[in-house]
């Protein structure tokens, strides 16, 4: 059994979120939802994290930040896009400075829709992400890395969210 599914440490990054989703992410830590009962800890440190929670869409300025956080996280890792902004760009999709969802920059494993995503949905998303983590640990580790590289090439064509989403969804099924 992969122990990584029993102790997922999370790093939360706010892309260009309206803070609605961020508040919901933090609400998961409160006594009401208490994600620590699943061993989930909100670390502020990519080097300790297993799950990358991103809220809000990607804009020109935070592309390097998101990439850097992603690259600093040791394998196995999963990316959970929280909220419709992180999934596809949401209401900000057509803004001049918005690239779209997180999957335009890094491979996303789980999409949590909602505006704002409810804490229950976020917890559900992280738990789904744990399944992916377990699979990555079990042997699809290499495949995931290769696909991440492919994705890196596709990053050049920003905005084609549908294509990128397809790639990421494929990966989820691997």
């Amino acid at each position: 059994m992969a122990y990584v599914t029993k102790s997922p440490w999370v790093i939360h990054y706010d892309g260009s979120s309206c803070n609605g989703c961020d508040i919901e992410v933090l609400a998961c830590l409160t006594p009401m939802y208490d994600v620590e009962r699943f061993g989930i800890i909100n670390t502020g440190n990519p080097k300790h994290a297993d799950v990358f929670l991103v809220t809000g869409s990607v804009n020109e300025q935070n592309i390097p930040v998101i990439k850097q956080i992603y690259e600093q996280m040791p394998e196995p890792k999963v990316v959970v896009a929280v909220g419709i902004c992180a999934t596809s760009g949401g209401v900000f999709k057509d803004c001049y400075n918005t690239m779209g969802g997180i999957d335009t920059v890094i491979p996303v494993d789980v999409y949590v829709p909602g505006c704002a995503a409810r804490p229950e949905a976020i917890i559900d998303g992280v738990v789904k992400g744990l399944g992916v983590l377990g699979e990555k640990k079990a042997g699809n580790y290499k495949a995931a890395v290769v696909q991440a590289d492919e994705e890196e090439v596709e990053v050049q064509s920003f905005g084609e969210t549908t294509d990128d989403t397809a790639v990421a969804t494929d990966k989820e099924e691997v």
Partner: protein, 298 residues
């Protein structure tokens, strides 16, 4: 100091090697559970610290430089040596200095990377050591004055109960314990509630196996630090042995309570409080003890 290795010593050292991390892990798990309950949460499973460490061992090894891994391993080894020396009943001063060496290796591990967070953590760790080291030495001096020996085996096997004549020193040990256990308000160098001004302090740049080694060495350290409390109660009798263990449990609960009741202080404040309280309590204690001894009252 003669160093005769007896079978009892080997058994105690092996027991500490094997049981140390088991007990330490359970203590850490129970700590997290009680903390969660104090905050009105359900809390993680008792074995959560074990899952965390197993997970860290499974992670991809990422190190910023070769030196770091070496320093972390040295810290773990010196921590184990400290505990072994303590539990086989060796000289208390030796134990204290090996403990300091272990702490220094952690600081070196943090300094070996250029991350501002771990550098800041390392600085604070050094300041903290400066704050509590005099008190730790006075604790050893006090125990010597009451028991007439620096050897742990002599201290626990006979003589008067140390906690009454050493009340001031005992209070300063509780203070030092809060710092050494890295409990709030003194979790300056390695915040165990992350996501704050210093990220994870000294461990910010340390991940995977090395972080697991640090966790395990904390388990060893906590067992040793809690075992130290026993010295204040032991006189060789079973009754006081039981009282000592109850005292350890009560004190640890007190530490959890303090942890949850206080926000982190600045290092200046931690430094001042530590020197004032520990040096006044143990200094006065040692002086009073000295005069009492002079007139043969103890």
């Amino acid at each position: 100091m003669e160093f005769n290795i007896t079978p009892v010593m080997i058994v105690s050292a092996l027991a500490y090697l094997v049981l140390g991390p088991v007990v330490g892990c359970l203590i850490a798990g129970i700590d997290r559970k009680i903390t969660a309950r104090m905050q009105g949460r359900f809390g993680p499973p008792i074995l959560q610290p074990f899952y965390d460490v197993r997970k860290l061992l499974e992670k991809e090894p990422v190190t910023v430089n070769n030196g770091q891994d070496f320093f972390v391993m040295a810290m773990l080894i010196f921590m184990i040596i400290t505990g072994c020396l303590f539990f086989i009943g060796e000289n208390l001063l030796l134990v204290i200095f090996t403990l300091t060496t272990a702490a220094i290796f952690l600081v070196l591990a943090a300094y070996s990377s250029n991350s501002p967070y771990s550098q800041l953590g390392a600085e604070r760790e050094l300041l903290q050591m400066m704050a509590y080291e005099p008190a730790v030495l006075l604790i050893a001096v006090g125990l010597y004055m009451v028991k007439g020996s620096f050897n742990v085996s002599d201290i626990i096997s006979g003589g008067p109960i140390a906690v009454l004549p050493l009340l001031g020193i005992f209070i300063s040990y509780i203070f030092v314990l809060t710092m050494k256990l890295r409990k709030s308000p003194f979790d300056l160098s390695m915040s165990h509630h992350p996501h704050q001004e210093l990220v994870k302090g000294v461990t910010t740049e340390i991940s995977g196996r090395s972080l697991a080694a640090i966790e395990v060495s904390h388990w060893y350290e906590n067992v040793f630090l809690l075992g130290f409390i026993f010295l204040f109660f032991a006189n060789g009798s079973i009754l006081w042995g039981v009282i000592g263990i109850v005292a350890i449990l009560l004190l640890y609960f007190l530490e959890i309570l303090i942890d949850n009741g206080y926000a982190r202080v600045k290092w200046q404040l931690a430094f001042k409080w530590c020197w004032k309280i520990t040096l006044i309590c143990s200094g006065v204690n040692v002086i009073v003890l000295y005069f009492l001894k002079m007139y043969n009252l103890v």
